[in-house]
Symmetry: C2
Subunit: 342 residues, 2 copies
């Protein structure tokens, strides 16, 4: 993903969105699903979140072609309780499942003070922050958890069991963009291991194990049958376990080790589950929640924290709004070919 600035071109969000939607639809999704996935992917590219931008398109296409995911699935929403929505994504993507239940989720959160959306039988192959940020724009607090595919060894163990299992959080901030983070509970992303291997760099200690479960700093040993470690030792491992329980056990989805895609060569999207929790802070004693968030951020800045969660994305987003979204010219050409191919 390291691209030479000279080879970059810039296109508008709408143009990129239309191109990506065409690619999805050409490879077997419904138009509704194509629009949702294109929006997610174009947003990541716009915000400089390269590993979840157009970089992901070949993986989406390969997965659709393999028949592993149903790009035309229509999610089935069940109003399970006043604060609890369950969605069967019907082996489709998680984002359309969220979209199908989103209005009801907001309604329930405002009526009850808190509400939960449990998605199962779903594929999540994208960044998690786009799922939570919009709730904060409506004054709500949102948390989300997604499990993925077995590539992380539990603390002290030898075999991969957990996914990279991200946790995302969004909160409104008075007078500013929402405060949003999206962090994998693995010590490092798989993509960064691949980049280190390509560049012949060793990794810091504590990022991975080799095929025998022994600690290694060699990215090739991690990729060659090894696995990642959780971030932060036993604490990160406990949080990753929690993500498995919330995103899979609670929703009725697969654990990260549960599914078998061996009959679908090319499949890259984990078939698991996702949980969202949305809270209406106006119900609390702190009716000035967004102002309190802003005070905390100010204090973090005063304490010398150089960057707030989400800062880089917002900066890139503003840059993209001014100059268009930066895309590698060769990659753009390949995308245009994919938009024509079936």
């Amino acid at each position: 993903m390291q691209s030479d600035k000279a080879q970059q071109t810039h296109i508008s969000f709408d143009e990129l969105h239309a191109l990506l939607a065409r690619i999805f639809a050409r490879h077997g999704t419904s138009n509704e699903v194509a629009a949702i996935l294109a929006s997610n992917c174009a947003s990541a590219q716009r915000d400089g979140a390269d590993s979840h931008g157009i970089f992901r398109i070949p993986g989406y296409v390969a997965t659709l072609q393999s028949g592993w995911v149903d790009g035309k699935a229509v999610p089935q929403v069940t109003d399970a309780a006043p604060g609890f929505i369950a969605v069967d994504a019907k082996n489709g993507f998680a984002q359309p499942a969220l979209a199908a239940a989103r209005a009801l989720l907001v309604e329930k959160a405002r009526a009850n003070g808190i509400a939960l959306l449990a998605i199962h039988n779903s594929h999540h192959f994208a960044a998690l922050w786009p799922d939570v940020e919009p709730f904060a724009r409506e004054g709500l607090v949102a948390l989300s958890f997604v499990n993925s595919m077995a590539c992380v060894v539990p603390h002290g163990g030898k075999r991969a069991l957990f996914g990279t299992n991200p946790i995302a959080f969004a909160a409104p901030r008075a007078g500013h963009e929402p405060l949003v983070f999206d962090l994998a509970t693995s010590a490092i992303a798989n993509g960064d291991v691949q980049i280190a291997a390509r560049e012949g760099r060793m990794l810091p200690e504590g990022y991975g194990v080799d095929r025998d479960g022994r600690p290694t700093c060699d990215p090739r040993a991690i990729l060659d049958g090894g696995a990642l470690l959780p971030f932060g030792g036993y604490k990160g491992s406990a949080l990753s376990m929690m993500v498995e329980l919330l995103a899979a056990a609670l929703t009725g989805g697969n654990f990260s080790f549960d599914f078998d895609w061996s009959g679908h060569p090319g499949a890259q999207t984990p078939r698991t589950g996702q949980l969202l929790i949305v809270i209406d802070p106006s119900k609390g004693a702190g009716s000035n929640f967004a102002a309190r968030t802003e005070l905390l951020v100010q204090q973090m800045q005063d304490a010398g924290q150089p960057r707030q969660p989400g800062d880089r994305r917002y900066r890139e987003r503003a840059q993209s709004a001014r100059a268009g979204i930066a895309v590698d010219s060769e990659e753009l050409a390949r995308l245009r070919q994919l938009a024509e191919a079936a």
Copy 2:
């Protein structure tokens, strides 16, 4: 807290509970509050959680004597929404506030699928796992967040701002004790820094900074105007920030840097807030949640993870049930003096 086994004596839970309740009541709490705090503290001692057992009693006593906390406070419970309870602890301890709202919280979680308890104006000076474990015994999933006092530097910063800000989680597990963790988002507990300083040991890298915000491995430099670091770098720091927002901003409580106890020498309990989220997993597509938890634990064991969260506590608990709760003889004598003094 390193005690010579030869100096230990063993007493029953009921005897320890009665002794601790007497101490609390003698130092200004109501009988109701005394019973609740005694139960919490005796449970920690029983489970080998030494740093939250009788070790805490002098801190409780000093705080009560300073007038910083109201040991007779009667929490005010507000049924804010079908899934949202707010409690003003009235400058009392957090545990009686939870006790006052607990039955309603369970009722709301079962009716709505998820419910939230926001406690503010409260003091939490205990382990967090005792607050969540009982929900899992009733088949519910529970999460809790408490902020404390400024002693942790945000990632990349120089000044302490966050508390040790623990996150606790509990889930039912078929045929076994609940799966429970309680982890500080700081890299190390304050008590462990004190022990290292006493023993003249250096700490590993990444645990703390000195008074100028520079990384240090010297526990004395951390204690002498320095501060702790979050666990796991920027990720742990983001989670600690989230705890401030959930436990303080959302509840209407103080941030960890908000309160001023300088007028109350001896005060040790942070006056902040606490959030609990309780989920009824039977509302999800996964009606067999506890069996799925058990499967995950089995897989963690098969993957070579040597110990599950909570294992040590349950082992110590069983040992205490057989042989009585181990207490240092001299400490027990001091407790008995405190129970008579006012």
